[in-house]
């Protein structure tokens, strides 16, 4: 309850800050982004985030799944290496590389962000599937479930909380990283921030940064709710009791 209160306070503060900055209208010679432009940027930002996230989920879950299979287990150390190194690569560099490969614009930003935020999903999917009690899998096998049935009816439901946690981490990561996309002309709130930086206008930087942070908090909170409903009830009870 207290957490929710702090969250709401923070969210309110950030929205107020955005409103205030927008209401300035003009600072010195420069025009702040008008409300319509700000909304447009927010919409673009959300589009980039959701597209990149979709890409990351669609590619990341099967990848994590494949790595968790017995025959691919040998790939697991490579995965952990890629994951830890991958996340030290600056988003800026990745977006830059993709803009060179695929040209400036929305598409290369989405692909770059998708690749970048793939890692938490792959890692969590893998971890979730590997952590399923081998005795539970043995029972499923012993009762005559096929490999697919075990995957769909047993492993994925049991790994769901961890997979959802990966998606959540990756989404939040995405909201922040998507600001960089403004640099390669993909639009979004990053564009306002970049303009503010080049004009040395703190007010404009804030006008772009505050709604970005608000969006991250909001999505995180929404996904927390989704994760809770994705966790099977029986599992929730077991986790609460601290059983394996």
């Amino acid at each position: 309850m207290r957490r929710r209160f702090v969250l709401l306070l923070l969210l309110g503060g950030l929205c107020a800050l955005t409103g205030w900055m927008t209401s300035l209208g003009r600072v010195g010679f420069f025009m702040m982004a008008p409300p319509a432009k700000l909304l447009e940027a927010l919409k673009e930002h959300l589009q980039i985030v959701l597209s990149a996230e979709l890409l990351a989920v669609v590619a990341g879950i099967p990848l994590g799944l494949a790595l968790s299979r017995r025959s691919f287990r040998r790939g697991a150390p490579i995965l952990s290496a890629v994951t830890s190194v991958g996340q030290t690569v600056p988003t800026l560099a990745l977006v830059g590389v993709f803009s060179i490969l695929m040209g400036l614009g929305w598409r290369s930003a989405v692909v770059a962000l998708g690749v970048y935020t793939l890692l938490p999903i792959v890692r969590n999917t893998y971890a979730g599937l590997v952590s399923v009690d081998p005795r539970v899998k043995d029972a499923a096998r012993g009762m005559g479930m096929s490999a697919w049935q075990i995957l769909w009816r047993v492993e994925i439901p049991l790994a769901a909380p961890l997979i959802m946690a990966g998606i959540r981490t990756s989404t939040v990561l995405n909201v922040g990283s998507a600001a960089v996309a403004g640099m390669i002309g993909a639009g979004g709130l990053g564009e306002i921030i970049m303009t503010g930086v080049s004009l040395r206008l703190v007010e404009m930087v804030l006008q772009g940064a505050a709604p970005t942070a608000a969006l991250a908090i909001l999505l995180d909170h929404l996904l927390e709710g989704v994760a809770a409903t994705a966790t099977p009830r029986g599992l929730r009870l077991a986790l609460r009791r601290g059983d394996s």
Binding site: D133, R135, V136, D138, A139, A140, R141, G142, M143, G144, M145, S146, Q149, V154, P157, L158, P232, R233, G234, L235, L237, A238, R240, R241, D243, S244
Partner: protein
């Protein structure tokens, strides 16, 4: 029902887990695979439903070579129960039990009926209270019952059980064993049951297959195993107290004196003394007009007062036996009570017999005689 012929399993690392085991398990037989850890008993069990692939040899189930059957078909025909942890935590009790019926494509109504039937059979009643609970909401013993119910889901003719009562406290385990025996008498499955607990093996098994280092050392009835160990390993494994363990296999009814000399409560002490002298006992059971057991009359307390009724000097009883009680429990009770006599009563407290140490020694002498003339395998 299940035949193993020269079955061998060598794991990829080179470990020989099972080494040339041949074993016949008859229909309706409860066969316990027993042995120290690492003896290959679990591997042997898992070879039957092909959870472990065979290296060489042949296994047939109901006349069919298991290696020629589709593996999922084979497994759906054989019940499989492991320790309680094997339940699906994200499924309700009903969903867990209906796992195999669902795989077999049973209709919803048929599945539901089967689940209710099994919950009832395993004593998880009232049924409605358990249907929609999750494993996390059950006690260890209840989870194990659900595990057994799940193995029985599609009514398979064969059950494979891998230490199903291993992770349960001793008191609950004892109760589950008793109940499982009762259920087995009703359903007559062919059961292969893995344990390392000799007491469990003796209590549950029609036969015991004792294994060591991947080899089958002896396959025999519990009494045969105890009376006639095949070699020093078996002798050591069943323990030096094997004679005492054998007591578990006999119950009170079989050795009690079913027509003991009794004395009515309204008779006189003089008559009691006379009766004691006649049978050469120092104590006699006292019963009322309806045959209900009241206690003992002892020579020491009945030595004087010839015309007083027996009722005035009755020593209350300290222990009571029942006809179905295994002898090991009866002996414990007799040692506890100073008289060395165990009165055996029925459900209405009527005296139906008496066990004395003399009768017990006769029984022990008989079981050592069995070492010379063993019983046939069933």
């Amino acid at each position: 029902m299940i035949e193993l012929r020269d079955v061998t399993k060598v794991f990829p690392g080179g470990t020989q887990a099972v080494d040339g085991v041949s074993l016949d398990i008859g229909e309706g037989e409860f066969c316990v695979l027993l042995g120290p850890s690492g003896c290959g008993k679990t591997t042997t069990l898992r070879l039957i439903n092909r959870l472990v692939p065979l290296t060489s040899g042949k296994i047939t189930v109901g006349g069919h070579d298991v290696s020629t059957m589709r593996v999922t078909t084979l497994r759906r025909r054989i019940g499989y129960a492991i320790q309680e942890i094997g339940l699906f935590p994200h499924m309700t009790v009903a969903q867990n039990i209906a796992t195999v019926p669902r795989l077999l494509g049973w209709r919803r109504r048929k599945r539901r009926e089967r689940v209710r039937e099994l919950l009832d059979l395993l004593g998880l009643t009232p049924v409605d209270e358990y249907l929609h609970r999750y494993p996390a909401e059950l006690s260890g013993g209840q989870r194990q019952r659900v595990g057994v119910a799940r193995a029985l889901g599609a009514n398979p003719a064969i059950l494979l059980m891998d230490e199903p009562f291993g992770a349960i406290d001793p008191i609950t385990r004892e109760r589950l064993q008793d109940e499982f025996l009762r259920i087995q008498r009703e359903i007559h499955k062919t059961v292969v049951f893995v344990t390392h607990d000799i007491h469990e093996a003796i209590k549950l098994g029609d036969t015991i297959a004792l294994m060591k280092e991947g080899r089958l050392i002896q396959h025999a009835t519990p009494s045969q195993l105890l009376a006639q160990p095949a070699d020093d390993f078996v002798r050591g494994f069943v323990g030096t107290d094997r004679t005492l363990k054998a007591l578990r296999l006999t119950n009170v009814r079989e050795i009690m004196d079913a027509e003991p000399t009794v004395i009515g409560e309204e008779e006189t002490l003089a008559a009691a003394r006379q009766a004691m002298d006649a049978v050469g006992r120092t104590a006699l059971p006292v019963v009322d007009a309806g045959g209900a057991f009241l206690g003992w009359i002892e020579r020491a307390t009945a030595s004087e007062g010839g015309s007083d009724p027996v009722a005035s000097r009755v020593t209350p009883y300290a222990v009571l036996g029942s006809p179905g009680m295994p002898l090991n429990e009866a002996v414990a009770l007799m040692l506890e009570s100073a008289t060395g006599n165990l009165p055996v009563v029925d459900d209405e407290r009527r005296l139906v017999g008496v066990v004395t140490f003399d009768r017990l020694f006769d029984q022990l002498r008989q079981s050592s005689a069995e070492r010379v003339a063993p019983k046939e395998l069933p």
